[in-house]
């Protein structure tokens, strides 16, 4: 029903990056995402909030078709990136994912050196012309992810030998290094201390200048700090989507309100 209004808004706003229409996601027979309609704007940070297991990650993974890798997972409905259906036959998921980068919920560094972990994306996309440029990209990405100081002396040691938070930042650096147009971040700061968190939030803010960022977070404060728009998911439904200030100060849906005030889980 509110499908109509959302579509209209999409037509008005030229800077819509992602538009999802009636998206359903099934794991086998169970439906994890129900009828989700959402517009994600360009040059904006959108936060997904909601209780654990409500489908945030699932929906996020739809946006760059990472769900393709799960056998039992099935996506219905349309998801448009810049007006183009990303589930179209013609679309190459590889190109899509180059545009839409992702940081996963569980840090998953490659069993390679720290340097190679970060250099991996630029190398496969041919973003640099020579070793010096590559070094530069690696350094700047690690700096952006607030990891450079900790690892600059051991770029050759394996990425799997880092602490949990360091691994998470490594994954952020890895995603940033490919300079995607959209960055999907699934709880990027969950294992980070406040200072590192602040640095990553700074990075997100910086990225917003050119790109669109979608961030899943469990911290209302963080959502309030970094995002311009917030989407609240509950039991697979997109309950409410709106300006962050509005959502946090004046939620329309009673469920949103009770979640924000800490009453439902």
């Amino acid at each position: 029903m509110n499908d109509m209004t959302l579509t209209e808004r999409a037509l008005e706003a030229t800077e819509i990056k992602f538009a999802a229409r009636d998206v359903q996601v099934y794991y086998g027979t169970s439906r994890a995402i129900k009828d989700v309609n959402i517009d994600i704007l360009d040059k904006t940070v959108t936060a997904f909030i909601g209780p654990s297991g409500c489908g945030k990650s699932t929906f996020l993974r739809c946006l760059n078709r990472m769900n393709d890798t799960i056998d039992v997972c099935r996506v219905e409905g349309d998801i448009l990136l810049d007006g183009e259906d990303i589930y179209d036959k013609k679309v190459d998921p590889v190109q899509l994912r180059a545009k839409v980068g992702m940081v996963f919920q569980k840090p998953n560094p490659f069993p390679k050196s720290i340097y190679d972990n970060v250099a991996y994306g630029p190398k496969i996309h041919g973003l640099t012309r020579n070793k010096a440029e590559l070094d530069e990209v690696v350094e700047s990405s690690l700096r952006k992810a607030a990891l450079w100081n900790e690892v600059k002396d051991r770029l050759d040691s394996p990425g799997t030998g880092l602490s949990g938070g360091q691994q998470q930042r490594l994954c952020i650096a890895r995603a940033v290094a490919t300079s995607p147009e959209v960055l999907l971040m699934d709880e990027p700061c969950s294992a980070l201390d406040p200072i590192a968190t602040a640095q990553v939030e700074e990075l997100i803010d910086e990225l917003r200048g050119n790109f669109s960022v979608v961030i899943v977070t469990h911290s209302m404060q963080q959502a309030a700090r970094v995002s311009q728009r917030t989407a609240f998911f509950h039991l697979g439904n997109l309950v409410e989507l709106g300006d962050t200030t509005q959502i946090f100060t004046n939620p329309k849906d009673p469920r949103t309100e009770s979640y924000i005030t800490g009453r439902i889980g």
Partner: protein, 444 residues
């Protein structure tokens, strides 16, 4: 959602040059993979068709059917039907009876061509037939004096004629068969005295000498291989897995374990015949186990298979992610429990693969058996286990090897037939492992 909204970057629908290149290389890579699988499967198909093409014939055999008068005067001179007395008549005597019976039958049907000697006519019957008849009579002395309908194997060349191996032209050159005999066979076939039918004997009968390829079967070899595989499976799988678990999960990394590791890798490279030398020295000469026995064969093959299983198992154990082990240790599982409850099930596909490949190799191996006396002509079936493990027996690959060495061309088909049986044996052996492996296969 208009199409012109593609302000940033390129359209997803159009692949850019670099992506095209990458996709092309992706496609190439995929094609290489497909080609590799295709190559393997193709090789298999080629090999199988050639084996099946030549080997299927062995499962059908030409038989003669005729009435045979069991003349009491020749078979039981004393007339007391005492098998011990009757045993004095050898197969040569029975051969004459069969020859006479055939000639009598053919004369009655007016099939014998002009000028064909009795010996030539008798040549149509396999040399195995007299022995069969003799056994039949000795088992049931009351048959003497009666006329029975007897189904006898036809001579291998005659059989070859119906399978296309022997032609009129080749028979003209062949010193063992004449075109006249083939013509006679043709007539007999028309008269329903002779025909091809399924040959159970090939699967259940023992080997036969070079004079009677038509009678050669695989019974003893199948039993021998079965016994050996039981021993190999029972010993090599637990030993191999146990050794791998120790080396991969428990052993400290030091010189001693390095030594064991190199050792195992090196054992895999030891030619199989050297294992035969070892078996001869250790099991037969030192431990005084009997020659030609499936027990010794099984032990030798076990030692030969172990490295394969160990290498595969270790690789599989190594691939289990440490986080799973951490999780188990973290709830207070002991190392042993961790290994047996979590690591081993996850490593199962690799272990089973190693077992499949190791057993396949063990099943098809001849060289080590050469030295422990199993590459032999054995006609008596080994007994039931466990004593049967000590009786002389042959093995399927040995039978293949022997068949390929024999002069009579009829053995070529039997060699391929034996290979078919061996492969069926292998498949039955593997099916359980393959099903199990599919159950354990999963990603985490």
């Amino acid at each position: 959602m208009t199409a012109e909204s593609t302000n940033s970057g390129t359209s997803l629908y159009k692949t850019d040059a670099r992506t095209k290149r990458r996709n092309a290389s992706e496609a190439r890579f995929r094609i290489y993979g497909m080609a590799a699988v295709g190559f393997g499967v193709l090789a298999l198909i080629v090999l199988l068709t050639s084996v099946l093409g030549t080997g299927l014939g062995a499962f059908r055999q030409t038989f003669l059917t005729m009435p045979v008068a069991l003349d009491a005067a020749t078979l039981d001179k004393k007339g007391n039907r005492d098998p011990a007395e009757m045993a004095k008549v050898t197969t040569i005597g029975y051969q004459k009876i069969l020859e006479k019976a055939l000639i009598a039958e053919l004369t009655e049907q007016k099939l014998i061509p002009e000028g064909m000697s009795a010996k030539d006519v008798g040549g149509l019957i396999s040399k195995e037939a007299p022995a069969q008849l003799r056994n039949k009579v000795l088992a049931n002395p009351e048959l003497v004096g009666q006329t029975i309908t007897f189904r006898a194997l036809a001579n291998g060349r005659i059989d070859g004629y119906f399978k296309g191996r022997v032609t009129m032209e080749s028979a003209a050159l062949d010193s063992n068969v004449s075109p006249a005999q083939l013509e006679l066979a043709d007539k007999m076939r028309a008269a329903n005295l002779l025909g091809l039918s399924f040959n159970w004997g090939f699967i259940f009968d023992p080997d036969a000498s070079e004079l009677r390829p038509e009678a050669a079967g695989l019974g003893v070899a199948i039993l021998g291989s079965l016994y050996m595989m039981i021993i190999v499976l029972v010993l090599s799988l637990p030993l191999g897995v146990a050794a791998s678990i120790y080396l991969e999960e428990f052993a400290p990394t030091n010189r001693w374990t390095d030594l064991i590791e190199v050792n195992i890798a090196n054992l895999a490279a030891v030619p199989s015949i050297v294992f035969g030398i070892l078996g001869l020295a250790v099991f037969i000469n030192f431990a005084n186990m009997p020659q030609s026995s499936p027990l010794v064969g099984g032990l030798v093959l076990t030692l030969m298979t172990l490295p394969t299983i160990i290498i595969a198992t270790r690789a599989a154990l190594k691939a289990v992610p440490p986080s799973i082990k951490d999780a188990a240790l973290g709830v207070g599982a002991s190392k042993t429990q961790t290994v047996f409850h979590h690591v081993l099930p996850l490593a199962m596909p690799g272990i089973l693969t190693g077992t499949i490949i190791g057993l396949a190799q063990a099943l098809g191996e001849t060289a080590p058996l050469l030295l422990i006396g199993m590459v032999a002509f054995v006609r008596d079936y080994p007994g039931a286990p466990p004593e049967g493990f000590l009786d002389p027996a042959s093995a399927l690959p040995v039978q293949v090897y022997n068949f390929t060495q024999r002069a009579d061309p009829a053995f070529i088909e039997r060699a391929s037939g034996a290979i078919i049986v061996l492969l069926v044996f292998l498949l039955t052996m593997n099916i359980l492992a393959i099903i199990l492996r599919r159950r354990f296969e999963r990603r985490w």
